[in-house]
């Protein structure tokens, strides 16, 4: 067992937690839903882990479960980012009447 290695990883983890707290505490309440959705997409990074254990010569989980794990993780990534993008697209400052009319028109086309 490599204790030194584990300690290095723990250091990275703790520092990242502090960075996370620092960065997130500056996000205004208006953006809390998109923020949750954005962090939700970020933990889709587990897709890296899923690929590492599934796309090998003999996946330990067998083929069906290997496909499932990649599916779940990529669902998290793609769904998470697209939802976030959709939410953020809606946040606009006060518009001029012309812009508002254009937005209403494009909204009506949908």
């Amino acid at each position: 067992m490599n204790v030194l290695h584990l300690l290095t990883e723990l250091t990275v983890f703790v520092l990242a937690v502090f960075v996370g707290l620092e960065v997130i505490s500056k996000v205004p309440a208006t953006l809390h839903t998109p923020l949750m959705s954005a962090t939700n997409a970020i933990h889709g990074i587990v897709l890296v882990g899923a690929l590492l254990i599934a796309v090998v010569a003999e996946p330990k989980l067998g083929p069906a479960l290997s496909v499932l794990v990649v599916f779940l993780a990529s669902l998290n990534v793609f769904g998470g980012y697209v939802v976030t993008q959709r939410m953020l697209a809606m946040f606009k400052p006060r518009q001029t009447p012309a812009q508002a009319a254009a937005a209403a028109a494009s909204g009506a086309q949908k």
Partner: protein
């Protein structure tokens, strides 16, 4: 992983992971204002692409290409389709399901890593891989099943009310104990394999049971908590696999989820433990037994569309207080239309957003943004509360407990101490409500019996559409 660390290829991959970490941090940083938030998401996506491409060099494509192709293809197709087609009002459950998917994936990755590092003859595992993988499996499994229950509740496929039964806390405690025992046994290498899977199963059941007693009004807390669980699970996966990008990203998400969870708890003046262990639910049960009718025996004043329209049109300032009822009725577009009509008549319209209004943090903000309400018109509780005394009309749309003056005045109330929007201080209060049924917490709201309160019963969207028509003719 049995890769030589100083191989040049591995160095390049690790460097790419560092770039990903920076992208995620910058991406979250750009979320601190709506102006740069979209850029933030783009930067975050770029980071994800870098990590995935780099990982691609580490894979044995000859054997597993079809697994990656099918899994990625199906995940992308379903994820993108669901994310694009879901209604904005259904966002909380969408986020819950994506969160559950991530948690489930983390638990499965951990299980695979556990099995691959297991000594097949002795049935033992090195301490570091054993502990990190069993922890990941436990937290990931809780997040997976917990998110599914949260999804079912939010989607109303099962009741959103708390599900309570005798001995609930004891059952949950026993399951938690079983999971902990499993973790300890894996660490000690005693019955390693059965212990691992026993812990996994206990955690999966615990995930179901701990979300069952959570009521809909507490969902913002649970959704952020489950999000932080999946983040933590992803970080632990990184420990098990020895992969820094997973550790960094998971830690970021875990920190953010924890912070949001605490914020939501604070907004309700309840500790997270109090939310989780259903003290609120217990109070609710006794309240229901006492009977849902008003104990004060006061009367409510029902108003008409025309009266309310006149009141609004001749006001100087109107504050709209949206709640979950607005989301259910999908009334946000009608609300915007009403505000437009009022602004044409020179009325100042502001929106008061309680931190826990709706079913996830910032839920109301997103819905109003969808309806093109400019975000500077949305005010936080602290900023808007001093405004109520100089406001002519407070228009409450499907919000209940966050406006209940008992939280301020009545120490015996179960929500006593929860910060509320001081709508009762406005000159006039108009409450749009489906019926006189008490709100989510099952608590009477004395606001409805105040002298200056008028009730407009009916579906929020229908009522507001009628108000728009009536205001136009004035």
């Amino acid at each position: 992983m049995d890769i030589v660390a100083d191989a040049p290829g591995q160095l390049a991959i690790d460097f790419a992971y560092l770039v990903t970490g920076i992208c995620f941090i910058m991406g979250l940083r750009y979320m601190n204002t709506p102006k740069t938030a979209r850029l933030g998401n783009a930067v975050s996506i770029a980071g994800m692409v870098v990590a995935l491409v780099a990982t691609g060099f580490n894979l044995d494509w000859s054997a597993g290409w079809w697994i990656a192709l099918v899994g990625l293809g199906a995940g992308a197709a379903v994820g993108i389709y669901a994310a694009r087609s879901v209604k904005m009002t259904a966002m909380p459950q969408m986020v819950a399901i994506f969160n559950g998917a991530g948690g489930g994936a983390a638990a499965m990755v951990a299980s695979a890593e556990f099995l691959s590092k297991l000594d097949p003859d002795a049935g033992t595992i090195p301490l570091d891989v054993g502990v990190t993988s069993v922890l990941t499996a436990v937290i990931g499994a809780i997040s997976f099943t917990g998110s599914i229950i949260a999804f079912l509740k939010l989607q109303e496929l099962m009741t959103g009310r708390p599900i309570v039964y005798p001995g609930q806390q004891i059952v949950n405690a026993l399951l938690a104990l079983a999971a902990v025992a499993g973790i300890v046994l894996v660490a000690l290498n005693v019955q390693t394999v059965p212990a691992f899977f026993a812990a996994l199963v206990a955690a999966a059941i615990l995930g179901v049971l701990f979300v069952l007693p959570i009521g809909g009004a507490d969902m913002p807390v649970i959704i952020s908590l489950l999000n932080s669980f999946t983040g933590l699970a992803a970080a632990l996966t990184g420990f098990a696999l020895g992969n820094n990008v997973l550790i960094i990203s998971g830690a970021l998400v875990g920190a953010s989820g924890t912070l949001l969870t605490l914020m939501m708890g604070k907004a309700m003046n309840r500790s997270v433990a109090n939310v989780l262990f259903g003290a609120f639910g217990a109070v609710k049960a006794t309240d229901a037994a006492a009977g849902p009718t008003g104990s004060t025996g006061g009367t409510v004043r029902e108003s008409s569309v025309d009266d309310v329209a006149t009141m609004l049109a001749y006001a100087r300032q109107v504050i709209v207080v949206p709640g979950y009822g607005m989301a259910v009725a999908q009334a946000q577009h009608s609300v915007r239309e009403l505000a437009d009509q009022l602004e044409k008549k020179g009325v100042e319209v502001k929106y008061a957003i309680h931190p826990v209004a709706g079913r996830m943090p910032g839920h109301m903000n997103v819905l109003l943004a969808e309806a093109n309400v400019p975000y500077p018109a949305l005010y936080d509780m602290e900023d808007i509360n001093p405004e109520f005394p100089r406001t002519d009309v407070a228009l409450i749309i499907g919000a209940n407990d966050v406006t209940n003056p008992d939280a301020r005045n009545s120490p015996s109330s179960p929500i006593y101490g929860m910060p509320i929007l001081d709508v009762d201080k406005a000159q006039q209060v108009v409450v749009l409500k489906r019926s006189m049924k008490p709100g989510f917490a099952g608590i009477d709201n004395p606001l409805y019996e105040l002298q200056n309160t008028s009730m407009l019963f009916g579906d929020a969207k229908a009522s507001i559409d009628k108000l728009v028509g009536a205001v136009k003719t004035l």
